[in-house]
Each structure stands twice: as C-alpha cells, then as structure tokens.
C-alpha cells in the first residue's frame, strides 16, 4: 500500500515536471546580446533578421523532432511548423536566406550553438550548460 502511494506521488511529480518543462533560447558566447524578445526571435526564425546588432551573421538552429521544447518555442514565436517550412522554403528558393539547420536532439543543438560563432538555438532549459549563454527562458 505504502509503495503504491509512493509510486502515485512519484508519477504525479514526473508528470508535473514534464508538463512544466521550460525552454531556454541559447546563443554562442560570441553573441553580444544579453536578452531577446519574442518579436526578435520570430524575426530571426522567419529569416527577416540575419545579422546581430554588431553585424555578425546569425546561424540558426532548430530541432528536428516534434518534442515539447519545439512546441513551446513555436508557440512563443507565434508560428506553426507548416507556416515556418513555407517561409523557409520560399527564402531558400528565392535566395533570401538559409533555413535553420535542424538537428536531431537538444544535445546536438547545444553542442552546435556552443561551437558556432553567432549561433542561436533553443533546448530544454534543464539541459543548458555553461558552454552557452541563455538569452531567454520560456516558461
């Protein structure tokens, strides 16, 4: 009985942790910005904004899988996966920009952002390390 209660409590906290997972917008340490708004993030991911304020090129990373981080991030910038794919394809085929590079997992994004000058990406906030800087945490 006690073990059953314990299992129920643990399950409850696990579900709570998953559903309240926070997403961190991360950048390479070469990026001078210390924070970012949803509008600027949207401009970057829709390829309207391709350079940081100091003139460095922005390298954008996305997550391939449809996980909770991606869902939270897309909601934050107010776009759907289908809409963004259309925007990226139009930009690519008309020479207006290079779509974000989609990587398989949060850790892949973390490593890519950490090692690419001017890079920006998003991951589960619990996976952030000191290799990158956090521009915003989405709750």
């Amino acid at each position: 009985m006690k073990i059953n209660k314990l299992l129920v409590i643990l399950t409850f906290f696990f579900i709570l942790k998953v559903s309240n997972a926070q997403v961190a917008i991360i950048a390479n340490k070469s990026v001078k910005e210390t924070g970012i708004t949803s509008d600027l993030t949207k401009d970057i991911y829709t390829l309207d904004q391709q350079r940081w304020s100091n003139g460095d090129d922005i390298k954008v990373y996305d997550i391939k899988a449809n996980n909770s981080s991606k869902e939270t991030f897309y909601k934050f910038i107010g776009e759907t996966p289908l809409k963004l794919k259309k925007i990226w394809l139009r930009a690519k085929l008309s020479g207006e920009g290079t779509p974000p590079k989609a990587l398989a997992t949060d850790n892949d994004v973390l490593n890519a952002v950490a090692t690419t000058s001017g890079a920006i990406g998003y991951i589960d906030a619990s996976k952030v390390t000191k290799k990158v800087k956090v521009l915003k945490t989405i709750k």
Partner: protein, 414 residues
Amino acid sequence: MFKNGKRLIYLLATFFISTSTFAQSVDVFGFFQSVGTSLSINQDVFSPLAMGKVSINQKSTNLYMQQANLFATSELGSGFSAFVNLEFTNNYSSNKFWGSFNLQEAYVKYQKNSALRLKVGLFLPKFNNLNEVYNRTPLLPYINRPLIYETSFWVVISPEDFLPQRGFFQVYGALRMGKARFDYSAFVGSSEDSFVANENPSSPNNPQNSSYPISGWEYSKSKTFGGRIGLRYSGLKLGVSATYDKDNLNKFNVSLDETNPVYASLGEVPRIRFGADLEYSLKGLFLNAEYESVNYNMKDGQDVLLKTLASPQIPGISNSSSIGGGLDKEFYYVTLGYNYFDNYFVYCNYGYLADDFNNLINSDNGGLKSYMIGGGYKPMDLVTLKLQYMKMKFNSDLADLDQDIYSVAVSVSF
C-alpha cells in the same frame, strides 16, 4: 542551338571550377517538376470561306519535364551573399532543339539589417506576391499556374506586358511596427524583352545588323522602375505594387492573315502597372489573390491611329480586326484552399484576364477565364505529388476556345 549548348557547358564548367577555388562554401540545390497532361482543345474559328465559324478539336497527351532549376548560393561574409538560378524547361535538350535553358538570376545581395537589403545583378523584381517565385514549383500548389504566370501560355499571352521581367538594382526590407511588419521595395530594371537584341535571324533585333547592339543588350533608352509596399500581420499579408516602363509597339501585325503580315507602328508607349496582392492563412485554410491593371498613356495621335488600325477587316463582323481598339489590360485570380495534417492540400482557383489589344480576349468579349481545382500529397517534405484540372474559355467574333487540361505532377526538391 548547338552554340547555346556549348555555351551552357562552358558556363556550368566555369561555375563549378570557380566555386571550388574559393574558400567560401557554396550551397548547390534545386528542384524539378515532371508532368503528365491530357489536353482537349475545342475551338470554333471564323472562316471567311465558310462565312462562319468552323470547329477544330484537338486532343493530346504529354509526359515531360516541365521545369528543372539549379541554384547555387554562397555566403560571402559581412552581410554579402551571391545567388545564381539556372532554369531548364520543357524537356530541355540542346541537340534535339527541345525546350529552353535560361540564366534566370545571378546577383549579389547585401543585408545590413532586416530594414535594409540591396540586390544588384539579374533577378526577378518584387511585384505582387508571385512574380519573384512564380516558377518555384515546390512553393506552389499548382501544376499550371494562374494565367500570366504560366509559361506554357506565353505563346498567347505576352508576359512582358503584365510582369516586370528583370531587375538590376533593388533596395528592400521589412520594418517592424509592433506585431506587424511593413515591407517595402523599389527597383530599377531592364526594359521589356522585345527591346533586347537577340540572335533570331527573323527578328528585327538581329545583332548581325550593325545598327543594333550586342545580343542581350537593349536598344531602347527606357528602363523599368517599380516597387511594392505591404503589410504582414499574423496570418495576413497584403500589398500594392506599381511599375513604370514603355511598351515596344514599334512593329506589330495588323493583318488577320499571319502568312501575309502587314506591320504598323505606334512607337514606344508609356505604361503603368498597378497590382494588389493578398495572402491569408488561418489554421489549415489558405487564401491567395492578386489583381493587376496595365494602363497605357497614349498621345492623341497614337490613340487615333490605333482605332483606325483596329477597324473591322471583315464586312459585317464588328470585332474582326487582328487587334483591339485599346491597349489596357487586366488580370486577377483567387485561390482558396485547405491543408490537412500538413501533408495533404486541396484548392480551387478562378482567374480572369483581358487584353484590349487582343481581339480574342479583350474586355468587351468577356476576356479569358480559367477555372482550376486541384490537390496534392507530400509523402515527405521534399516531394509533392500534385493533381489538377483546369478549364480555359474565351468567346469572340473571331474565335471561341474551350480547353480542358488534366494534369498530374511530381515536384521534387533536393
């Protein structure tokens, strides 16, 4: 054609050799669309011998590579990038004299920030929503595109009258206004294609004639100026566009008998194009629409001469000249569609085009109308299977047309 094939090989070889000698990476990608069509054309054409219309019916089926494009882009650093677009259409083959090859775009772009970008070189200028991307088949749900954008209809419809063809310099950008974005662009480009010297021996623009410039050069002083302003907010995008240039009416046939042309001249006539575009999406629903009017500024003498040349050639038939009594044109289309689960889409489209210089499809006759219904499936992001039915119709004193096109296509990006 063989000379063009050799030039193509030299161009591609030069391109790939030169890209390998530079430090910057070059991204090469492209797409193609293969099409199968069944075409049924029912025409009633006026015959002077029969003193009435004679029916001509044609059917054909075609399997062909409608289009293939090869792109190369390179980030040059400090906000500069280069872009090249090579286009092959209709089963292009230089040794079989099929289709065409075209260096459609080659430009350098500079972006200071989202509010200021510059493009210099050869490119499709911004006009309405579709002009820049009318031939990017992976972006479009259509197989046959709305009338003025469909290259296979350019035998009947002159695209250079409706659309600015080439830009040389463009400044553009997007300004943020709260949650909305204000888009602007302004460009200057070449005059229309008919002002450009070419190597067709039967063309008056033959560069072998020493009074004309080099092949590919314009022999008119006039240029095209234009721009677009627009607004984007949430799922809504709308804008207005305009251009100013001159139409080449130095030599056109006024005879109904194509084998015995009679040429007249109105000179170069200034024209202004106005356009409006709308794009809206809400969840899976999408709505695209464009409108365009082309208005000519004729001098009094030109106006009178045109009306004289447009006088009926067949007694008793009021609109029987090969040309109409005006020059103005109008075009619009509306597409309504729906995306299911990101993989499936369906749409319907209505289009209208009127050209008062063309007695078959002028506004008095009700113009040319098109109706489309279609859909598609994306088994993966880079592949789209498409289906389409299209009907085109016009009625005039000289001829009626009722054309049905059934098409299937596969569009692949790589």
